[in-house]
């Protein structure tokens, strides 16, 4: 954590990152922390929350892991209140938590559809609404929603996931218009294929097919998403709002 990692505008701010146990969410939590923010990372289990606290402490980052179920409105308001009391209200919200329940539509069950829409899309409505109050008061805020290239390109077997991510991007544009006058920016970051547990499960052949579509010829690293999120969160990204930033090695060029 050298000086070069600091980003103007983040020191002392409280950032809330959902789904911070691993992968992209963990990288974002660490990057914002290295940039000077106090970081609250959330996980669905108490054990996961403790592990996040451990990782943050290991890196000398102020903050904590907390248990949060983004599909439960009570859990959302409880955690927001808790964070505000212990650390101050989060003015940076990174909606990263997400799941996949892949299936071709012909076989997709209602719970596979609803589960993905609820966890990946409705959660963003809940979280943003709960966090917005403090941001409007502060006349400063950052809401950064983690999308996916699939929201723009589509992907066979992921109609639920793609619908949620495309919905997230429309939500982002609307909320950016609502909150612009209050100094709050709302953006989405859409990763392509990133080296995480979510993509490790892919069969080798499928993986190679995917790589063939990426001009840079490799998977992305979680840190390469985290850097873009940190840019949007800091002062240098202040004039970007309502935008979806694609970070995908060139596999989709919006």
């Amino acid at each position: 954590m050298g000086m070069q990692q600091e980003i103007a505008g983040l020191a002392g701010k409280v950032a809330l990152v959902t789904g911070a146990s691993r992968g992209i969410g963990q990288a974002i939590a660490l990057r914002l922390g290295a940039a000077g923010a106090t970081v609250i990372g959330t996980a669905t289990s108490e054990k996961g929350a403790e592990a996040i606290s451990g990782v943050l402490a290991e890196h000398g980052i102020a903050g904590a892991g907390m248990q949060l179920d983004v599909t439960d409105a009570d859990s959302v308001s409880r955690v927001l209140k808790d964070v505000a009391e212990k650390f101050g209200a989060p003015l940076i919200l990174v909606n990263n938590a997400g799941i996949t329940k892949d299936n071709i539509l012909m076989r997709m069950k209602d719970e596979e559809w609803e589960g993905v829409i609820n966890t990946n899309l409705t959660s963003i409505f809940r979280m943003s609404k709960a966090a917005m109050r403090a941001m409007t008061k502060a006349r400063w805020g950052r809401i950064i929603n983690i999308s996916s290239v699939v929201g723009s390109m589509g992907n066979a077997g992921q109609s639920n996931y793609a619908a949620a991510k495309a919905g997230l991007e429309g939500f982002t544009r609307s909320l950016a218009r609502e909150l612009g006058s209050r100094g709050i920016t709302v953006n989405a970051v859409a990763p392509g294929f990133i080296d995480t547990d979510m993509t490790k499960g892919l069969p080798d052949e499928h993986r190679q097919n995917l790589l063939d579509q990426v001009p840079l010829g490799r998977l992305g690293q979680p840190e390469e998403i985290a850097g873009v999120v940190a840019f949007l969160a800091g002062d240098e990204g202040a004039y970007v709002t309502g935008e979806t930033l694609h970070v995908n090695g060139g596999m989709y060029m919006g």
Binding site: R133, T136, K137, E178, S181, R182
Partner: protein
């Protein structure tokens, strides 16, 4: 100690950036004082804080004038 009416008007002035003499009890936040929909939400937030009360959304929507805000606070003291 200021009266409820004075405290409500002070908050309206602060939140909507209007002068005291522009605000009467009959003033409508949107039509007379130039508030947009987000301003009215923030106004309710400020009232909640000043009077240490929680105003449910369905009640908040009915508060459109200074007098209605005063009435709400008086009724819920």
């Amino acid at each position: 100690m200021s009266t409820i009416e004075e405290r409500v008007k002070k908050i309206v002035c602060e939140q909507l950036g209007v002068k005291e003499e522009e605000v009467s009890n009959e003033s409508s936040f949107v039509e007379d004082l130039g508030a947009d929909s987000l301003d009215t939400v923030e106004l309710v937030m400020a009232l909640e804080e000043e009077f240490e009360t929680e105003i449910p959304d369905e009640e908040a929507e009915k508060i459109t004038t200074v007098q209605e805000a005063i009435d709400y606070v008086v009724a819920h003291q």
